[in-house]
Protein backbone atom coordinates (compact mmCIF):
# COMPACT_ATOMS: atom_id res chain seq x y z
CA UNK A 1 0.00 0.00 0.00
CA UNK A 2 1.70 3.11 -1.18
CA UNK A 3 -0.99 5.65 -0.40
CA UNK A 4 -1.54 6.62 3.19
CA UNK A 5 -5.22 7.05 3.86
CA UNK A 6 -4.62 9.01 7.06
CA UNK A 7 -2.56 11.76 5.43
CA UNK A 8 -5.01 12.03 2.56
CA UNK A 9 -7.99 12.11 4.90
CA UNK A 10 -6.45 15.03 6.81
CA UNK A 11 -6.56 17.12 3.66
CA UNK A 12 -9.83 15.79 2.22
CA UNK A 13 -12.34 15.24 5.01
CA UNK A 14 -14.98 13.60 2.83
CA UNK A 15 -12.63 10.74 1.99
CA UNK A 16 -13.59 7.29 3.23
CA UNK A 17 -12.10 3.91 2.50
CA UNK A 18 -14.02 1.66 0.16
CA UNK A 19 -14.06 -2.14 0.27
CA UNK A 20 -12.10 -3.44 -2.69
CA UNK A 21 -10.85 -6.79 -3.91
CA UNK A 22 -7.57 -5.40 -5.17
CA UNK A 23 -6.16 -1.88 -4.93
CA UNK A 24 -6.60 1.10 -2.62
CA UNK A 25 -10.08 2.43 -3.11
CA UNK A 26 -11.63 5.60 -1.74
CA UNK A 27 -15.04 7.21 -1.73
CA UNK A 28 -14.92 10.93 -2.28
CA UNK A 29 -17.60 13.61 -2.33
CA UNK A 30 -18.29 15.42 -5.58
CA UNK A 31 -17.13 18.82 -4.29
CA UNK A 32 -13.65 17.53 -3.39
CA UNK A 33 -13.11 15.33 -6.43
CA UNK A 34 -11.20 17.78 -8.61
CA UNK A 35 -8.95 18.93 -5.78
CA UNK A 36 -8.19 15.32 -4.85
CA UNK A 37 -7.39 14.42 -8.44
CA UNK A 38 -5.03 17.37 -8.73
CA UNK A 39 -3.36 16.38 -5.48
CA UNK A 40 -2.93 12.77 -6.61
CA UNK A 41 -1.52 13.82 -9.95
CA UNK A 42 0.90 16.46 -8.70
CA UNK A 43 1.96 15.16 -5.29
CA UNK A 44 1.50 11.39 -5.52
CA UNK A 45 2.56 10.84 -9.12
CA UNK A 46 -0.63 9.35 -10.52
CA UNK A 47 0.04 10.61 -14.01
CA UNK A 48 -2.24 8.28 -15.95
CA UNK A 49 -6.02 8.25 -15.82
CA UNK A 50 -6.74 4.80 -17.18
CA UNK A 51 -10.47 4.47 -16.85
CA UNK A 52 -13.71 6.21 -15.96
CA UNK A 53 -16.71 3.96 -15.39
CA UNK A 54 -20.25 4.85 -14.49
CA UNK A 55 -22.21 2.50 -12.26
CA UNK A 56 -26.01 2.38 -11.94
CA UNK A 57 -26.97 1.05 -8.48
CA UNK A 58 -30.59 0.80 -9.59
CA UNK A 59 -32.78 1.13 -6.47
CA UNK A 60 -30.21 2.66 -4.15
CA UNK A 61 -29.73 6.32 -3.44
CA UNK A 62 -27.51 7.95 -4.60
CA UNK A 63 -28.30 5.90 -7.66
CA UNK A 64 -25.27 6.64 -9.85
CA UNK A 65 -21.57 6.51 -9.08
CA UNK A 66 -18.54 7.17 -11.20
CA UNK A 67 -15.40 5.09 -10.64
CA UNK A 68 -12.02 6.49 -11.67
CA UNK A 69 -8.92 4.34 -11.99
CA UNK A 70 -5.58 6.05 -11.76
CA UNK A 71 -2.17 4.52 -12.39
CA UNK A 72 1.21 5.77 -11.32
CA UNK A 73 3.90 4.92 -13.86
CA UNK A 74 6.61 5.73 -11.31
CA UNK A 75 5.23 3.94 -8.25
CA UNK A 76 3.55 1.27 -10.35
CA UNK A 77 0.34 1.18 -8.40
CA UNK A 78 -3.34 1.84 -8.94
CA UNK A 79 -5.94 3.72 -6.99
CA UNK A 80 -9.69 3.68 -7.45
CA UNK A 81 -11.80 6.74 -6.63
CA UNK A 82 -15.54 6.38 -6.48
CA UNK A 83 -17.66 9.49 -6.51
CA UNK A 84 -21.40 9.33 -5.89
CA UNK A 85 -23.40 11.52 -8.26
CA UNK A 86 -25.48 14.36 -6.89
CA UNK A 87 -29.15 13.84 -7.69
CA UNK A 88 -30.87 10.67 -8.91
CA UNK A 89 -33.08 12.21 -11.61
CA UNK A 90 -30.39 14.23 -13.38
CA UNK A 91 -27.14 12.97 -11.82
CA UNK A 92 -24.18 15.32 -11.80
CA UNK A 93 -20.48 15.18 -10.94
CA UNK A 94 -17.69 17.69 -11.61
CA UNK A 95 -15.62 17.08 -14.72
CA UNK A 96 -11.92 16.28 -14.38
CA UNK A 97 -10.98 17.15 -17.95
CA UNK A 98 -8.93 20.04 -16.54
CA UNK A 99 -6.78 17.52 -14.66
CA UNK A 100 -6.43 14.83 -17.32
CA UNK A 101 -7.51 15.57 -20.91
CA UNK A 102 -7.97 11.79 -21.22
CA UNK A 103 -11.16 12.19 -19.21
CA UNK A 104 -12.77 14.05 -22.11
CA UNK A 105 -13.88 11.02 -24.12
CA UNK A 106 -14.39 8.82 -21.07
CA UNK A 107 -16.81 11.35 -19.59
CA UNK A 108 -18.60 11.75 -22.88
CA UNK A 109 -19.05 8.00 -22.98
CA UNK A 110 -20.35 7.90 -19.41
CA UNK A 111 -22.76 10.70 -20.22
CA UNK A 112 -23.89 8.84 -23.32
CA UNK A 113 -24.43 5.55 -21.53
CA UNK A 114 -25.80 6.73 -18.17
CA UNK A 115 -26.91 10.31 -18.64
CA UNK A 116 -24.54 11.54 -15.94
CA UNK A 117 -23.77 15.23 -16.43
CA UNK A 118 -20.18 16.29 -15.97
CA UNK A 119 -20.18 19.85 -14.74
CA UNK A 120 -17.48 21.89 -16.49
CA UNK A 121 -16.93 19.47 -19.36
CA UNK A 122 -15.93 21.50 -22.45
CA UNK A 123 -17.86 19.47 -25.01
CA UNK A 124 -20.41 17.14 -23.43
CA UNK A 125 -22.22 15.37 -26.25
CA UNK A 126 -22.90 11.77 -27.16
CA UNK A 127 -19.99 9.76 -28.47
CA UNK A 128 -21.08 6.19 -29.22
CA UNK A 129 -24.80 6.66 -29.91
CA UNK A 130 -26.05 9.24 -32.37
CA UNK A 131 -26.87 12.79 -31.28
CA UNK A 132 -30.68 12.56 -31.34
CA UNK A 133 -30.82 9.31 -29.41
CA UNK A 134 -33.28 9.57 -26.53
CA UNK A 135 -32.11 6.89 -24.10
CA UNK A 136 -29.12 6.03 -21.96
CA UNK A 137 -28.56 2.35 -22.73
CA UNK A 138 -26.49 1.23 -19.75
CA UNK A 139 -29.09 2.31 -17.21
CA UNK A 140 -30.56 -0.76 -15.59
CA UNK A 141 -34.13 -0.08 -16.74
CA UNK A 142 -33.08 -0.08 -20.40
CA UNK A 143 -33.85 -3.51 -21.89
CA UNK A 144 -31.08 -5.60 -23.43
CA UNK A 145 -33.10 -5.90 -26.64
CA UNK A 146 -33.11 -2.14 -27.11
CA UNK A 147 -36.10 0.08 -27.79
CA UNK A 148 -37.55 0.69 -31.23
CA UNK A 149 -36.50 4.11 -32.38
CA UNK A 150 -36.22 6.27 -35.47
CA UNK A 151 -33.20 5.99 -37.76
CA UNK A 152 -30.52 8.61 -37.07
CA UNK A 153 -30.54 10.36 -40.45
CA UNK A 154 -33.75 12.21 -41.42
CA UNK A 155 -33.26 11.86 -45.19
CA UNK A 156 -32.72 8.11 -44.95
CA UNK A 157 -35.72 7.82 -42.63
CA UNK A 158 -37.97 9.45 -45.23
CA UNK A 159 -36.84 7.19 -48.05
CA UNK A 160 -36.76 3.79 -46.42
CA UNK A 161 -39.63 4.26 -43.96
CA UNK A 162 -38.04 1.92 -41.44
CA UNK A 163 -37.07 2.09 -37.79
CA UNK A 164 -34.22 0.83 -35.66
CA UNK A 165 -35.98 -2.19 -34.21
CA UNK A 166 -35.43 -3.98 -30.92
CA UNK A 167 -33.40 -7.17 -31.19
CA UNK A 168 -35.30 -10.45 -31.04
CA UNK A 169 -34.45 -11.83 -27.60
CA UNK A 170 -36.17 -15.21 -27.69
CA UNK A 171 -32.82 -16.84 -28.40
CA UNK A 172 -31.09 -14.48 -25.97
CA UNK A 173 -28.46 -15.52 -23.44
CA UNK A 174 -29.95 -18.10 -21.09
CA UNK A 175 -28.92 -18.75 -17.53
CA UNK A 176 -30.62 -19.71 -14.29
CA UNK A 177 -31.50 -16.66 -12.21
CA UNK A 178 -31.11 -16.71 -8.46
CA UNK A 179 -34.62 -17.27 -7.12
CA UNK A 180 -36.25 -18.91 -4.11
CA UNK A 181 -38.52 -21.26 -6.00
CA UNK A 182 -37.07 -24.13 -7.96
CA UNK A 183 -39.59 -23.53 -10.73
CA UNK A 184 -38.25 -20.02 -11.28
CA UNK A 185 -34.68 -21.23 -11.55
CA UNK A 186 -35.24 -22.70 -14.97
CA UNK A 187 -32.60 -21.16 -17.29
CA UNK A 188 -34.18 -18.22 -19.09
CA UNK A 189 -33.16 -15.02 -20.81
CA UNK A 190 -32.56 -12.12 -18.44
CA UNK A 191 -34.33 -9.77 -20.79
CA UNK A 192 -38.01 -10.67 -20.80
CA UNK A 193 -39.16 -7.59 -22.71
CA UNK A 194 -40.29 -9.84 -25.59
CA UNK A 195 -42.41 -12.13 -23.39
CA UNK A 196 -46.05 -12.74 -24.32
CA UNK A 197 -47.22 -11.79 -20.86
CA UNK A 198 -45.71 -8.31 -21.09
CA UNK A 199 -47.63 -5.43 -22.63
CA UNK A 200 -46.22 -4.36 -25.97
CA UNK A 201 -43.95 -1.33 -25.96
CA UNK A 202 -44.95 1.34 -28.45
Amino acid sequence: MTLSFETLAKQFDSLTQRPSSDYDAFNVDADQLVALCEHLRDKEGFSLLVDVAGIDWNDQSPRFSVAYHLYSVIKQCYVRLVCACVGDESPEVPSIVSVWPAANWHERETYDMFGIHFKGHPDLRRILMWDDYKYHPLRKEFPLAGIEDELPAADVRERVDANVIAAPMMGGPFYAQAADHMSQREPSAADQSWAESNPKRD
Binding site: R18, S20, S21, L48, A67, A102, L128, L138, A176, A190
Partner: protein, 410 residues
Protein backbone atom coordinates in the same frame (compact mmCIF):
# COMPACT_ATOMS: atom_id res chain seq x y z
CA UNK B 1 1.10 30.02 -61.39
CA UNK B 2 4.45 29.72 -59.73
CA UNK B 3 4.71 27.13 -57.01
CA UNK B 4 5.50 28.61 -53.67
CA UNK B 5 7.97 26.80 -51.51
CA UNK B 6 8.00 27.31 -47.80
CA UNK B 7 10.31 26.22 -45.06
CA UNK B 8 8.33 23.96 -42.80
CA UNK B 9 9.45 23.20 -39.30
CA UNK B 10 8.32 19.63 -38.80
CA UNK B 11 8.97 19.60 -35.09
CA UNK B 12 6.19 21.76 -33.71
CA UNK B 13 2.81 21.13 -35.25
CA UNK B 14 0.94 24.08 -33.82
CA UNK B 15 3.72 26.53 -34.70
CA UNK B 16 3.78 25.15 -38.22
CA UNK B 17 0.18 26.02 -38.73
CA UNK B 18 0.34 29.41 -37.07
CA UNK B 19 3.15 30.58 -39.33
CA UNK B 20 0.88 30.09 -42.33
CA UNK B 21 -1.42 32.83 -43.48
CA UNK B 22 -4.93 31.57 -42.83
CA UNK B 23 -7.03 31.24 -45.95
CA UNK B 24 -10.45 29.87 -46.72
CA UNK B 25 -11.06 26.55 -45.03
CA UNK B 26 -12.65 23.47 -46.45
CA UNK B 27 -14.27 20.68 -44.51
CA UNK B 28 -13.53 17.15 -45.53
CA UNK B 29 -15.31 14.05 -44.35
CA UNK B 30 -13.04 11.04 -44.13
CA UNK B 31 -14.68 7.71 -43.50
CA UNK B 32 -16.48 5.84 -41.99
CA UNK B 33 -15.64 3.58 -44.92
CA UNK B 34 -12.16 4.59 -45.89
CA UNK B 35 -9.28 2.14 -46.36
CA UNK B 36 -6.87 4.23 -44.30
CA UNK B 37 -9.10 4.36 -41.24
CA UNK B 38 -8.77 0.59 -40.67
CA UNK B 39 -12.38 0.12 -39.71
CA UNK B 40 -15.29 2.43 -39.33
CA UNK B 41 -13.68 5.57 -37.99
CA UNK B 42 -14.94 8.86 -39.34
CA UNK B 43 -12.87 12.01 -39.21
CA UNK B 44 -14.39 15.43 -39.75
CA UNK B 45 -11.45 17.49 -40.97
CA UNK B 46 -11.15 21.22 -41.49
CA UNK B 47 -8.55 21.98 -44.10
CA UNK B 48 -6.69 25.11 -45.01
CA UNK B 49 -5.08 24.14 -48.28
CA UNK B 50 -3.22 20.95 -47.49
CA UNK B 51 -3.03 21.66 -43.78
CA UNK B 52 -5.45 20.39 -41.20
CA UNK B 53 -6.81 23.03 -38.87
CA UNK B 54 -9.30 20.95 -36.95
CA UNK B 55 -10.05 17.27 -36.53
CA UNK B 56 -13.15 15.82 -34.94
CA UNK B 57 -13.26 12.03 -34.82
CA UNK B 58 -16.73 10.47 -34.89
CA UNK B 59 -16.84 7.00 -33.43
CA UNK B 60 -19.56 4.55 -32.48
CA UNK B 61 -20.24 2.95 -35.86
CA UNK B 62 -19.23 -0.41 -34.45
CA UNK B 63 -20.95 -0.01 -31.09
CA UNK B 64 -22.55 -3.29 -30.07
CA UNK B 65 -23.20 -2.64 -26.40
CA UNK B 66 -20.78 -5.26 -25.09
CA UNK B 67 -21.00 -3.85 -21.58
CA UNK B 68 -24.77 -4.17 -21.55
CA UNK B 69 -24.54 -7.69 -22.96
CA UNK B 70 -22.04 -8.63 -20.25
CA UNK B 71 -24.56 -7.70 -17.53
CA UNK B 72 -27.03 -10.14 -19.02
CA UNK B 73 -25.02 -13.32 -19.30
CA UNK B 74 -22.74 -15.51 -17.24
CA UNK B 75 -19.00 -14.98 -17.11
CA UNK B 76 -18.20 -17.90 -19.40
CA UNK B 77 -20.85 -16.91 -21.91
CA UNK B 78 -19.08 -13.59 -22.36
CA UNK B 79 -15.75 -15.11 -23.47
CA UNK B 80 -16.70 -15.14 -27.20
CA UNK B 81 -17.55 -11.45 -26.97
CA UNK B 82 -14.01 -10.67 -25.88
CA UNK B 83 -12.76 -12.11 -29.20
CA UNK B 84 -14.52 -9.28 -30.90
CA UNK B 85 -12.94 -6.46 -28.89
CA UNK B 86 -9.49 -6.32 -30.42
CA UNK B 87 -10.24 -8.74 -33.22
CA UNK B 88 -6.65 -8.68 -34.37
CA UNK B 89 -5.42 -10.26 -31.14
CA UNK B 90 -8.40 -12.27 -29.83
CA UNK B 91 -6.28 -14.69 -27.82
CA UNK B 92 -4.88 -11.89 -25.71
CA UNK B 93 -8.34 -10.51 -24.97
CA UNK B 94 -9.46 -13.96 -23.83
CA UNK B 95 -6.54 -14.18 -21.45
CA UNK B 96 -7.00 -10.67 -20.06
CA UNK B 97 -10.68 -11.26 -19.41
CA UNK B 98 -10.11 -14.63 -17.77
CA UNK B 99 -7.44 -13.23 -15.45
CA UNK B 100 -9.70 -10.32 -14.49
CA UNK B 101 -12.51 -12.63 -13.38
CA UNK B 102 -10.10 -15.04 -11.70
CA UNK B 103 -8.65 -12.13 -9.76
CA UNK B 104 -12.11 -11.36 -8.45
CA UNK B 105 -12.57 -15.02 -7.53
CA UNK B 106 -9.10 -15.12 -5.92
CA UNK B 107 -7.95 -18.01 -8.09
CA UNK B 108 -4.33 -18.93 -8.77
CA UNK B 109 -3.61 -20.70 -12.02
CA UNK B 110 -1.22 -23.67 -12.16
CA UNK B 111 2.13 -23.00 -13.88
CA UNK B 112 1.27 -24.91 -17.06
CA UNK B 113 -1.86 -22.87 -17.61
CA UNK B 114 0.08 -19.64 -17.06
CA UNK B 115 2.80 -20.69 -19.52
CA UNK B 116 0.25 -21.61 -22.20
CA UNK B 117 -1.43 -18.26 -21.67
CA UNK B 118 1.88 -16.43 -22.04
CA UNK B 119 2.49 -18.19 -25.37
CA UNK B 120 -1.04 -17.22 -26.45
CA UNK B 121 -0.46 -13.59 -25.46
CA UNK B 122 2.86 -13.29 -27.23
CA UNK B 123 1.70 -15.03 -30.41
CA UNK B 124 -1.27 -12.68 -30.44
CA UNK B 125 1.10 -9.75 -30.04
CA UNK B 126 3.25 -10.96 -32.95
CA UNK B 127 0.14 -11.44 -35.10
CA UNK B 128 -1.24 -8.00 -34.23
CA UNK B 129 2.04 -6.19 -34.80
CA UNK B 130 2.65 -8.02 -38.09
CA UNK B 131 -0.70 -6.74 -39.31
CA UNK B 132 -0.10 -3.32 -37.80
CA UNK B 133 3.23 -2.88 -39.55
CA UNK B 134 1.97 -4.42 -42.79
CA UNK B 135 -0.95 -2.08 -43.25
CA UNK B 136 1.04 0.86 -41.90
CA UNK B 137 3.58 0.25 -44.64
CA UNK B 138 0.86 -0.19 -47.21
CA UNK B 139 -0.70 3.14 -46.22
CA UNK B 140 2.63 4.78 -46.93
CA UNK B 141 2.95 3.06 -50.30
CA UNK B 142 5.27 0.21 -49.25
CA UNK B 143 2.97 -2.53 -50.47
CA UNK B 144 5.58 -5.31 -50.40
CA UNK B 145 5.74 -5.27 -46.59
CA UNK B 146 2.09 -6.15 -46.42
CA UNK B 147 2.68 -9.31 -48.48
CA UNK B 148 5.54 -10.43 -46.24
CA UNK B 149 3.75 -9.84 -42.96
CA UNK B 150 0.45 -11.28 -44.11
CA UNK B 151 2.09 -14.50 -45.22
CA UNK B 152 3.53 -14.87 -41.73
CA UNK B 153 0.26 -13.97 -40.06
CA UNK B 154 -1.43 -16.64 -42.14
CA UNK B 155 0.94 -19.28 -40.76
CA UNK B 156 0.21 -18.00 -37.27
CA UNK B 157 -3.52 -18.33 -37.86
CA UNK B 158 -3.03 -21.94 -38.87
CA UNK B 159 -1.38 -22.48 -35.50
CA UNK B 160 -4.27 -20.74 -33.73
CA UNK B 161 -6.69 -22.95 -35.58
CA UNK B 162 -4.90 -26.03 -34.42
CA UNK B 163 -4.91 -24.78 -30.83
CA UNK B 164 -8.43 -23.43 -30.52
CA UNK B 165 -10.40 -24.72 -33.49
CA UNK B 166 -10.95 -21.24 -34.90
CA UNK B 167 -8.73 -18.83 -36.75
CA UNK B 168 -10.18 -15.54 -35.62
CA UNK B 169 -12.80 -16.13 -32.92
CA UNK B 170 -10.61 -18.19 -30.68
CA UNK B 171 -12.50 -18.11 -27.32
CA UNK B 172 -9.71 -20.19 -25.86
CA UNK B 173 -9.78 -19.36 -22.16
CA UNK B 174 -12.34 -20.28 -19.55
CA UNK B 175 -12.75 -18.81 -16.11
CA UNK B 176 -10.37 -20.99 -14.11
CA UNK B 177 -8.43 -22.50 -16.97
CA UNK B 178 -8.49 -23.09 -20.68
CA UNK B 179 -10.78 -24.67 -23.21
CA UNK B 180 -8.35 -27.60 -23.56
CA UNK B 181 -4.71 -28.50 -23.31
CA UNK B 182 -2.32 -27.77 -26.17
CA UNK B 183 -2.38 -30.40 -28.93
CA UNK B 184 0.48 -32.84 -29.26
CA UNK B 185 3.44 -31.50 -31.18
CA UNK B 186 2.00 -27.99 -31.29
CA UNK B 187 4.89 -26.46 -29.35
CA UNK B 188 7.33 -27.85 -31.90
CA UNK B 189 5.40 -26.25 -34.72
CA UNK B 190 5.29 -22.93 -32.85
CA UNK B 191 9.04 -23.21 -32.42
CA UNK B 192 9.50 -23.85 -36.14
CA UNK B 193 7.36 -20.84 -36.93
CA UNK B 194 9.37 -18.59 -34.60
CA UNK B 195 12.63 -19.84 -36.10
CA UNK B 196 11.61 -19.06 -39.66
CA UNK B 197 10.01 -15.71 -38.65
CA UNK B 198 13.40 -14.29 -37.63
CA UNK B 199 14.94 -14.10 -41.14
CA UNK B 200 11.71 -12.77 -42.63
CA UNK B 201 11.54 -10.05 -40.01
CA UNK B 202 15.10 -9.12 -40.97
CA UNK B 203 13.97 -8.85 -44.55
CA UNK B 204 11.10 -6.56 -43.61
CA UNK B 205 13.57 -4.60 -41.53
CA UNK B 206 15.93 -4.32 -44.49
CA UNK B 207 13.16 -3.21 -46.81
CA UNK B 208 11.61 -0.62 -44.54
CA UNK B 209 13.62 0.63 -41.60
CA UNK B 210 16.30 2.56 -43.53
CA UNK B 211 14.16 3.13 -46.60
CA UNK B 212 14.46 6.83 -47.49
CA UNK B 213 10.87 7.22 -48.63
CA UNK B 214 9.59 5.53 -45.51
CA UNK B 215 11.75 7.65 -43.25
CA UNK B 216 10.71 10.86 -44.98
CA UNK B 217 7.09 9.92 -44.62
CA UNK B 218 7.28 9.01 -40.93
CA UNK B 219 10.26 10.65 -39.24
CA UNK B 220 9.31 13.76 -37.33
CA UNK B 221 5.66 13.41 -38.27
CA UNK B 222 3.22 13.88 -35.42
CA UNK B 223 5.57 13.73 -32.46
CA UNK B 224 3.70 13.14 -29.20
CA UNK B 225 5.49 14.36 -26.12
CA UNK B 226 5.78 12.33 -22.92
CA UNK B 227 3.47 14.70 -21.09
CA UNK B 228 0.79 14.64 -23.78
CA UNK B 229 0.94 10.86 -24.08
CA UNK B 230 0.37 10.48 -20.34
CA UNK B 231 -2.27 13.19 -20.13
CA UNK B 232 -4.32 11.63 -22.92
CA UNK B 233 -4.01 8.16 -21.49
CA UNK B 234 -2.04 6.54 -24.30
CA UNK B 235 -0.77 3.11 -23.38
CA UNK B 236 1.25 0.27 -24.81
CA UNK B 237 3.59 0.81 -27.77
CA UNK B 238 2.23 4.32 -28.37
CA UNK B 239 3.15 5.41 -24.85
CA UNK B 240 6.54 3.71 -24.95
CA UNK B 241 7.36 5.34 -28.30
CA UNK B 242 6.96 8.68 -26.54
CA UNK B 243 9.69 7.70 -24.12
CA UNK B 244 7.71 6.55 -21.09
CA UNK B 245 9.17 3.39 -19.60
CA UNK B 246 5.98 1.56 -18.70
CA UNK B 247 5.07 -2.02 -19.45
CA UNK B 248 2.62 -3.92 -17.27
CA UNK B 249 4.26 -7.24 -18.14
CA UNK B 250 7.26 -6.06 -16.14
CA UNK B 251 5.70 -3.54 -13.74
CA UNK B 252 2.65 -5.54 -12.70
CA UNK B 253 3.47 -9.10 -13.76
CA UNK B 254 0.50 -11.35 -14.38
CA UNK B 255 0.32 -14.93 -15.62
CA UNK B 256 3.94 -15.55 -14.62
CA UNK B 257 5.59 -12.87 -16.76
CA UNK B 258 8.15 -12.33 -13.99
CA UNK B 259 9.79 -15.63 -15.03
CA UNK B 260 10.80 -14.45 -18.48
CA UNK B 261 13.64 -12.22 -19.61
CA UNK B 262 12.71 -9.58 -22.11
CA UNK B 263 13.55 -6.02 -22.89
CA UNK B 264 11.18 -3.13 -23.34
CA UNK B 265 11.87 -0.90 -26.33
CA UNK B 266 11.46 2.82 -25.63
CA UNK B 267 11.23 5.56 -28.25
CA UNK B 268 12.73 9.01 -27.96
CA UNK B 269 10.69 11.57 -29.86
CA UNK B 270 7.34 9.79 -30.10
CA UNK B 271 6.94 10.39 -33.83
CA UNK B 272 5.44 7.96 -36.31
CA UNK B 273 8.85 6.44 -37.03
CA UNK B 274 9.42 5.69 -33.35
CA UNK B 275 6.08 3.97 -33.08
CA UNK B 276 7.10 1.74 -35.97
CA UNK B 277 10.50 0.94 -34.45
CA UNK B 278 8.98 0.09 -31.07
CA UNK B 279 6.58 -2.38 -32.69
CA UNK B 280 9.34 -4.02 -34.72
CA UNK B 281 11.43 -4.55 -31.60
CA UNK B 282 8.42 -5.83 -29.65
CA UNK B 283 7.98 -8.60 -32.19
CA UNK B 284 11.56 -9.71 -31.59
CA UNK B 285 11.09 -9.62 -27.82
CA UNK B 286 7.85 -11.59 -28.11
CA UNK B 287 9.69 -14.22 -30.15
CA UNK B 288 12.22 -14.51 -27.37
CA UNK B 289 9.48 -14.88 -24.73
CA UNK B 290 7.74 -17.61 -26.74
CA UNK B 291 11.05 -19.48 -27.06
CA UNK B 292 11.61 -19.29 -23.31
CA UNK B 293 8.08 -20.42 -22.59
CA UNK B 294 8.41 -23.42 -24.91
CA UNK B 295 11.75 -24.33 -23.34
CA UNK B 296 10.45 -24.46 -19.78
CA UNK B 297 6.87 -25.53 -20.40
CA UNK B 298 5.90 -27.19 -17.12
CA UNK B 299 3.85 -30.34 -16.82
CA UNK B 300 0.79 -30.67 -14.67
CA UNK B 301 -2.83 -29.54 -14.76
CA UNK B 302 -3.85 -26.77 -17.14
CA UNK B 303 -6.88 -25.66 -15.09
CA UNK B 304 -7.43 -24.74 -11.45
CA UNK B 305 -8.45 -28.01 -9.81
CA UNK B 306 -9.60 -26.44 -6.56
CA UNK B 307 -12.08 -24.17 -8.35
CA UNK B 308 -15.01 -26.54 -7.92
CA UNK B 309 -17.77 -24.00 -8.50
CA UNK B 310 -16.02 -22.20 -11.33
CA UNK B 311 -14.33 -24.62 -13.70
CA UNK B 312 -16.40 -27.61 -14.88
CA UNK B 313 -14.99 -31.09 -14.25
CA UNK B 314 -13.58 -33.24 -17.01
CA UNK B 315 -15.92 -34.84 -19.47
CA UNK B 316 -15.19 -38.45 -18.54
CA UNK B 317 -16.01 -37.69 -14.91
CA UNK B 318 -19.20 -35.85 -15.83
CA UNK B 319 -20.45 -38.88 -17.69
CA UNK B 320 -19.62 -41.39 -14.97
CA UNK B 321 -19.98 -39.63 -11.59
CA UNK B 322 -23.12 -38.09 -10.10
CA UNK B 323 -21.46 -35.30 -8.13
CA UNK B 324 -19.47 -34.08 -11.12
CA UNK B 325 -22.57 -34.17 -13.29
CA UNK B 326 -24.44 -31.89 -10.87
CA UNK B 327 -21.42 -29.62 -10.61
CA UNK B 328 -21.22 -29.32 -14.38
CA UNK B 329 -24.96 -28.66 -14.61
CA UNK B 330 -24.78 -25.86 -12.04
CA UNK B 331 -21.83 -24.17 -13.76
CA UNK B 332 -23.49 -24.35 -17.17
CA UNK B 333 -26.91 -23.07 -16.06
CA UNK B 334 -25.97 -20.59 -13.32
CA UNK B 335 -22.48 -19.68 -14.41
CA UNK B 336 -19.27 -19.81 -12.39
CA UNK B 337 -19.92 -18.65 -8.81
CA UNK B 338 -17.88 -15.49 -8.29
CA UNK B 339 -17.83 -13.73 -4.90
CA UNK B 340 -19.09 -10.14 -4.58
CA UNK B 341 -16.55 -7.35 -4.91
CA UNK B 342 -15.01 -4.81 -7.23
CA UNK B 343 -11.95 -5.55 -9.27
CA UNK B 344 -10.00 -3.76 -11.95
CA UNK B 345 -7.51 -5.69 -13.98
CA UNK B 346 -5.60 -4.57 -17.02
CA UNK B 347 -3.03 -6.31 -19.14
CA UNK B 348 -0.56 -5.25 -21.78
CA UNK B 349 -2.43 -5.98 -24.99
CA UNK B 350 -0.74 -5.45 -28.37
CA UNK B 351 -2.65 -2.19 -28.91
CA UNK B 352 -2.17 -0.90 -25.39
CA UNK B 353 -3.67 -1.61 -22.01
CA UNK B 354 -6.95 -3.50 -22.06
CA UNK B 355 -8.77 -3.22 -18.75
CA UNK B 356 -11.82 -4.87 -17.22
CA UNK B 357 -13.59 -3.25 -14.29
CA UNK B 358 -16.00 -5.77 -12.82
CA UNK B 359 -18.55 -5.04 -10.10
CA UNK B 360 -19.97 -8.29 -8.81
CA UNK B 361 -22.82 -8.84 -6.39
CA UNK B 362 -22.07 -12.55 -6.30
CA UNK B 363 -23.36 -15.31 -8.52
CA UNK B 364 -22.67 -16.12 -12.12
CA UNK B 365 -23.46 -12.77 -13.74
CA UNK B 366 -21.52 -9.51 -13.34
CA UNK B 367 -23.47 -6.53 -12.04
CA UNK B 368 -21.46 -4.11 -14.13
CA UNK B 369 -18.55 -4.64 -16.44
CA UNK B 370 -16.62 -1.76 -17.90
CA UNK B 371 -14.19 -2.47 -20.70
CA UNK B 372 -11.35 -0.04 -21.11
CA UNK B 373 -10.26 -0.21 -24.72
CA UNK B 374 -6.79 1.15 -25.47
CA UNK B 375 -7.80 2.26 -28.97
CA UNK B 376 -10.49 4.49 -27.48
CA UNK B 377 -7.80 6.44 -25.62
CA UNK B 378 -5.36 6.40 -28.54
CA UNK B 379 -7.97 8.02 -30.75
CA UNK B 380 -8.91 10.65 -28.18
CA UNK B 381 -5.56 12.35 -28.78
CA UNK B 382 -6.34 12.98 -32.49
CA UNK B 383 -8.04 16.40 -31.99
CA UNK B 384 -4.87 17.47 -30.19
CA UNK B 385 -2.20 16.21 -32.60
CA UNK B 386 -3.89 16.48 -35.99
CA UNK B 387 -4.04 20.29 -36.40
CA UNK B 388 -0.96 21.43 -38.30
CA UNK B 389 -0.39 18.16 -40.09
CA UNK B 390 -0.88 17.78 -43.83
CA UNK B 391 -3.70 15.78 -45.30
CA UNK B 392 -1.18 13.22 -46.63
CA UNK B 393 0.00 12.60 -43.07
CA UNK B 394 -3.40 11.41 -41.91
CA UNK B 395 -3.07 7.77 -43.05
CA UNK B 396 0.46 7.69 -41.61
CA UNK B 397 -0.67 8.94 -38.21
CA UNK B 398 -3.64 6.59 -38.13
CA UNK B 399 -1.46 3.67 -39.16
CA UNK B 400 1.16 4.51 -36.57
CA UNK B 401 -1.36 4.68 -33.71
CA UNK B 402 -2.46 1.13 -34.68
CA UNK B 403 -5.99 1.19 -33.34
CA UNK B 404 -8.86 -1.21 -33.91
CA UNK B 405 -12.44 -0.02 -33.88
CA UNK B 406 -13.81 -3.22 -32.36
CA UNK B 407 -12.51 -2.29 -28.93
CA UNK B 408 -12.85 1.44 -29.41
CA UNK B 409 -16.62 1.26 -29.90
CA UNK B 410 -17.28 -1.94 -27.95
Amino acid sequence: MATQQKEINLGDNSARYQSEVPGETMSLNMGPSHPATHGVLRLKLELDGDFITKCDPVIGYLHRGDEKIAENMTYNQFVPYTDRLDYLAPLHNNVTYAIAVEKLAGLEMPPRCEAIRVICCELARISSHLLGIGVYGMDAGAFTIFLYTFTEREKLYTLFEELTGARLTTSYTRIGGLMRDIPEGWLGRVNNFINQLGPILEEVDGLLTRNTIWMKRTEGVCPISKEDALAYGLTGPNLRASGVDADLRRDKPYSGYENYDFEIPIGTSGDCYDRYLVRMEEIRQSMSIVRQAIEKMPDGPWYAEEAKKIFPPRKDKILTKMEELIQNFMIVTEGPQIPPGEVYFEAENPKGVLGFFIVSKGGGVPYRMKIRGPSFCSLSILPKVMPGLMITDVPIVLGSLDFVMGECDR
